[in-house]
Amino acid sequence: MTLRTEPVTINLGPQHPSTHGVFRMRITFDGEVILDVEPVFGYLHRGSEKLAEERTYAQVVTLTDRLDYVSSMSNNLAYVLAVEKLAGIQPPERAMYLRVIAAELQRISSHLVATGFFLNDLGALATPLMYCFREREKILDLFEMLCGARITLSYMRVGGVFQDAPTEFWPAIRDFLSFMPEYVDEYEKMLTGNEILLSRTKDVGILAGETAINCSASGPVLRSAGVNWDLRKADPYDVYDRLEFDVPVGTVGDNYDRYLLRIAEIRQSLRIIEQCVDQIPEGPVRERIPNLVRPPVGDAYAHVESPKGELGFYLVSDGSIAPYRCKIRSPSLINLTVLRDILIGWKLADMIVTFGSIDINMGEVDR
């Protein structure tokens, strides 16, 4: 005799502790095994793209803070690069270095959040999360020195940055660079060899390089699948072409690789910041441009390697003080499209972990 079983459908989210915001998935289970996943977006839609059309070019910077709210600097950077490309503005050298420092600090902070929440999804009772947040706090302190804010930074401006770093910033960042590698070692010592973490993440949620490319995935998700693609190398912006760093690339493309990759990227980011701090020239930090930028009619696309992947801004100008159209290519949304391919056949617990390892931010997914 065989027992008749029925698949169960669960609405995971929008209110759920580990959907990292208000994401919803309609999942069909056979027992614990996933049969089908259907992501449902749009619970955090705020119309950022439309709002951008109603604001001047300078004002839109504040909107970009609220896209991926754990990496505001990268969002600022992508947007101001697009406007500068559109209006043909060249920021001063010092500003470009400051931007790179800020963006790389933001990458470290975002990867710390990703690693912490990844472990939290694994069920580690917030202990690794607290450790990661301890160092993120130091980065937020540095941001506070730069621009007074900690989360919604709005530090970048069209044609430079908001203000020069204060004098006490430089010893503080030297201090940060001196102690941070030890903390990264500490994470590795406690996490990388942990048997439970290994058994939960190794060879789970394998993403093939081809699938990743076909899904147009980017960032750590793409690189963990063995594809060597980093915009900082492939299409360098600001001063990345003067800096020496490596791109870590995964071998298997499983959850464990994505975790390892983020740790490796933190180390590379520290290398980049160290070089920037050594190389940064004196000079102005902001190009003198009119308060209301009026770019010539045309369009421009600029992209940066944000912590989550390729973050792009496509701006169309009709010659007025506000963009005619602002399209945001958000890495989180596009990285989510690989979800269905890598989840089917795994268990409920793996689903949460894989979802955490992709590292999305709902503010960016729904915009």
């Binding site: 502790p17 694994l122 607290m130 060899g193 058994s199 492939a234 072409d241 003067r242 490596d246 870590p248």
Partner: protein, 405 residues
């Protein structure tokens, strides 16, 4: 009433209370008849034990949160009272005054009964635990069997809650809970059998008295299996798949609020103390110890074991449901069998072991335990080797990097 005399003498806790009530008299005329004194003393014993347990647990929640705070490099609750000591009071007040919501479509009786049944198990465990010299509620001659039986009761409540809630997360949690219990009951019982063979009795009072050497020194493997299995039975991390907050929201008690939820939480905080008491009694010589009074020794040992359970909880991530089952059947079950066979074999050789022979047994068992753990962890962990750090590659450069330099 003369028949109760030996019982009263053995159980000093009950006996003293009985004598107090039975001895109340006005000019030689007894105020309370003997049978009533018997009941009053009995109820008072139960009242005191339950309150000590609940108050210890309440203090325990505070200690737990402060310690986990320290482990996580933060402060922990420190607002209410000195060092936040009144936090449990504030928590209880908040839970008691909170609205008790009951979702549509719950199975009323089952839903409401579940928290009460759930707290029954952890509380009943304390009925047979000897807290100190001659201090216990009851000395059952099948004490350990009783404990094994009552520790499974919460699982029924878990399933009642999961089914009665009419919520799929709850049902998932409940199903996981039942599967986990069925698996872990086997190694749990197997690990106890070694102790029972050595003690020659099922009564916890006798087990404590028969420990010339703490049984942890003779039964290291049994102790290890027991502490793992009891963590799984209590659904503590890393085996907390039943209420896995990152997966199932809160598992079987997702739909509960107010004091019903509070009852679940209370039971879950009592459970580690129950487990620590059982471990203390079975493996750590119970209340016995030099110099200090016996009750204090018992408390020290319980808190030490409790701290280990808490430490594990704050440190380890969660296992997946199939890995938990594999751990029980492929790892703990064979180890339990090995432990049982070795202990039984050694007792066959030394039928009535002297203290020196007990030490010899301990030595043999430690060697076997270490070999078993090393071998089986190697067998389990063919996948569990860390990958080397990702080799950084120079990246696909546009060539401008070289020009710039």
């Amino acid at each position: 009433m003369g028949g109760y005399t030996p019982f009263r003498e053995a159980n000093a806790f009950f006996g003293n209370l009985y004598d107090l009530f039975a001895g109340l008299n006005v000019f030689g005329v007894s105020l309370i008849p003997e049978w009533l004194a018997y009941f009053v003393a009995g109820f008072l014993v139960i009242f005191i034990v339950i309150n000590v347990v609940v108050i210890t647990t309440t203090v325990g929640t505070w200690v737990e949160r402060r310690l986990i705070g320290r482990i996580q490099s933060r402060l922990g609750p420190n607002r209410w009272g000195p060092f936040g000591l009144l936090t449990p009071v504030a928590d209880a007040l908040k839970l008691l005054t909170k609205e008790d919501t009951r979702p549509e479509g719950v199975d009323g009786w089952v839903f409401n009964l579940a928290p009460l049944v759930f707290i029954l198990g952890p509380l009943l465990v304390f009925a047979v635990i000897p807290f100190g010299k001659n201090t216990y509620v009851a000395d059952l001659n099948i004490g350990i069997l009783f404990i094994i039986a009552v520790t499974t009761v919460p699982t029924i409540a878990m399933f009642m809650a999961g089914w009665g809630s009419g919520n799929r997360y709850s049902l998932f949690g409940a199903m996981r809970g039942v599967a986990q219990l069925v698996s872990y009951e086997v190694p749990l019982v197997l690990s106890i059998v070694g102790v029972l063979l050595l003690a020659g009795s099922l009564s916890l009072v006798d087990i404590v008295e028969s420990q010339r050497i703490p049984f942890i020194l003779i039964q290291p493997l049994g102790f290890f299996i027991f502490i793992v299995a009891i963590s799984a039975e209590m659904n503590r991390s890393p085996f907390d798949i039943v209420e896995a907050d990152s997966e199932l929201v809160a598992g079987f008690h997702t739909e509960y609020s107010g004091m019903k939820w509070g009852t679940f939480q209370l039971a879950e905080f009592i459970a580690p103390f129950g487990a620590a008491s059982i471990i203390t009694t079975l493996f750590l010589k119970g209340w016995e110890g030099p110099v200090l009074p016996s009750h204090l020794w018992f408390f020290i040992k319980v808190w030490a074991i409790w701290f280990i359970l808490l430490w594990v909880r704050a440190t380890l991530p969660r296992l997946r449901v199939d890995q938990i089952m594999a751990l029980a059947w492929k790892f703990l079950f064979p180890l339990g069998l090995i432990n049982l066979f070795i202990t039984a074999g050694l007792l066959l050789i030394w039928e009535d072991p002297t203290t020196i022979q007990l030490w010899a047994m301990g030595g043999i068992n430690w060697v076997i335990a270490l070999v078993c753990l090393v071998v089986s962890s190697h067998l389990m962990s063919d996948k569990l080797t860390a990958r080397p750090p990702l080799a950084p590659v120079p990246g696909r450069s546009s060539g401008r990097a070289q020009e710039a330099r």
